[in-house]
Symmetry: none
Subunit: 401 residues, 2 copies
């Protein structure tokens, strides 16, 4: 959809929208003709809600395309994931809950091992402990390069997020990781003139890092890849006129929500109950709530069919608490599919349910892949969900006379 | 879909895809409330396969648009038929199995009759016999124009394909057929500067042809129209990383397959069995097989409802032989609809079935227009089929982090 069209038609309203995202929700049956995880799960509350909702299936990026978490979330938030790219470096920084800003250049970092001639022996430095990583990251964080600020955020084992903050750093940069051993790390090259300053700064940083790490074998060198700037995109406020809040336990999802201008709420704890408590506490302060559930995807990627079924059933049990808040519009869906039989993200369309007082209910009393394939929303681009939700929240005025 | 997106995500795999195209597959009931040809046909094997597949309907070009065979095939092959045009002249050349190359300029030719003043009396030369056509074509083939090669390929009665081969021949050319009698044929005009060389060459050819045909009444002149170059498009190898083979009995379909870089296999015979024997013989040598069945369209265009039903049933009987090869992905569909009640191609969406181990089966045990309209693929552009098939063949990696 033409984003200006929508933006010009947005009107204020005293209505609330909740988007409940079960990560990797879509699944597959374990055997031909069987039921998916969602179809297997006992979900009386979601089934009852489905009965009063419009159902459908969402395609996050394009037919046949398996999305990463970034593109999957951007799509369900209504941002074309081919127009707005979140580079790998930026995702790494978001993943450790780093608050990326517009002057930040991010990259994925590895500690690695080099020999006395500087040739790479181990691209992962023997997967050093995360505690060693934390010490070394603190050390690298002391490096000063001209007018920039540098942040080294440990991830786990040998991985860290590298962030350099300075105006005018662009991300058309080659990677230093040659992706094989026996050779020296590559220098960073600017792939366009705008990025020359960034290349110069990053190369200075790498030289300084190499010196600091000389005696830190096996982590005596670093590799950087996936350079990416903070992607600039319109906020939920600008695009939809919504004061939006995000409730998510993992950094990456908190980060993507922050990118689209949501206020990321602090969750006191790590359970689904803690997330719902946060929702209830903040209910009066926002128009839109994004609530993220990670476990569905985690079990999907582990290949744990029953685990994913259980995670869905756990969510189902919280639906009455959601309904008690009397949201005007409820979306229950996912950012992509993660069938446990594939142990990975997949391209399959994702079940979605849209509830409101004004919805044309499909009267299908089941929330599942097959049921949703018969829903009146159809099998649609995920980016269609937000406009439909806004309409149901009476937040879009008439187009044309 | 952005074609670069897909191209950048293609990964190798040891999987095989079969695309079985029944030409003009979609149909209409003979009377309101009745069944279509496909729904009337007894197709136990396709119905059983449908049960384990995702179903849908494909729109070849755009809603309401009736495609020719060229656009219909390009779409199901995943090429936007509005972006890649195969001109009429090129289709005529492909139709007689001529191997068009990048330096070829093709046109549709007619023998016609002119009076002593050169005015057209009969635009079809009294529909001369094909044998006469063959003799005259051989005669015209002796003409030499500067550095070009000339090929005159008889079609039938008064029709032939004209091909002129020389670097730098462009196809923005006006036609010589004035589409009425009592006037002289028009000269070829270049409609852009690039095409001036081609106009000059073709006019020289026409002058030479007129001289050679002076005493060949009623076929004493020619008309040329639909000038078209060989359309350049990415191959299946470039676009999808697929080593693709085509099995088709008719020149036009062999030709379109050749345009997209498929290897066109020789079929020893003219029956469906001969086509399947070719498939079986070549099974180990390719990743992708396009198998074309013409009869469904032929009967549709003849208005022979029962004939089309029979042609579909004949295909159904071969499905077990296809399954015995254990393809990873099977697509059964069509390039367009050809309802026998309309005796022509039509705009109606075309039933399609997509089978793989990783498909979310719709559990609809019928392959037919109505059944497919309830399938989870939805009613979609035909160009979506190839990406979905590639995903199911595990040949597309994840987009974004």
């Amino acid at each position: 959809m033409n984003s200006n069209l929508l933006q010009n038609l947005i009107i204020p309203a005293q209505t609330k929208i909740v988007m409940l995202i079960m990560d990797g929700l879509g699944g597959l049956p374990r055997e031909p003709g069987g039921k998916t995880e969602l179809e297997t799960a006992r979900t009386p509350n979601l089934d009852d809600l489905a009965q009063r909702s419009s159902l459908g299936l969402t395609i996050p990026v394009a037919p046949g395309i398996t999305p990463g978490s970034g593109p999957g979330h951007l799509a369900i938030f209504g941002y074309d994931p081919l127009q707005y790219e979140i580079g790998r470096g930026a995702m790494e920084a978001l993943g450790v809950d780093f608050e990326l800003g517009p002057d930040d250049l991010a990259a994925r970092g590895n500690f690695c091992t080099v020999d006395t001639d500087g040739r790479i022996i181990d691209r992962r430095a023997g997967r050093i402990g995360t505690d060693v990583n934390q010490d070394l990251a603190r050390l690298l964080g002391t490096i000063r390069i001209e007018q920039s600020e540098i942040f080294i955020e440990p991830v786990k084992e040998h991985r860290f997020a590298f962030i350099m903050r300075s105006p005018g750093l662009y991300d058309a940069l080659s990677e230093t990781d040659p992706q094989r051993i026996g050779v020296v790390p590559l220098p960073v090259l600017a792939l366009d003139p705008d990025s020359e300053k960034a290349a110069r700064y990053v190369n200075q940083f790498i030289t300084a890092a190499k010196e600091l790490l000389t005696h830190k074998h096996p982590a005596n060198m670093i590799l950087l890849r996936g350079f990416a700037k903070f992607p600039i995109m319109p906020t939920f406020q600008e695009k939809y006129g919504l004061k939006a809040a995000a409730i998510a336990l993992n950094g990456m999802y908190r980060g993507v929500a922050r990118l689209v201008g949501m206020q990321v709420l602090n969750v006191d704890g790590i359970t689904l109950n803690d997330e719902f408590v946060t929702l209830e506490k903040n209910w009066s302060d926002f128009d839109f709530f994004y609530l993220h559930i990670k476990k569905t995807d985690t079990f999907g990627e582990l290949g744990d069919f029953e685990g994913k079924v259980g995670a869905i059933e756990e969510v189902d049990a919280f639906i009455p608490r959601l309904l008690a808040l009397k949201p005007d519009v409820i979306i229950v869906g996912g950012d992509h599919s993660s069938p446990s039989v594939l142990k990975s993200h997949s391209w399959h369309p994702v079940p979605v349910l849209l509830y409101s007082h004004h919805v044309r209910a499909d009267r299908i009393a089941e929330f599942g892949e097959s049921a949703c394939s018969h829903g009146s929303l159809g099998t649609i681009p995920a980016t269609h969900i937000m406009p439909t939700a806004l309409a149901n929240a009476l937040r879009i005025t008439k187009y044309g006379a």
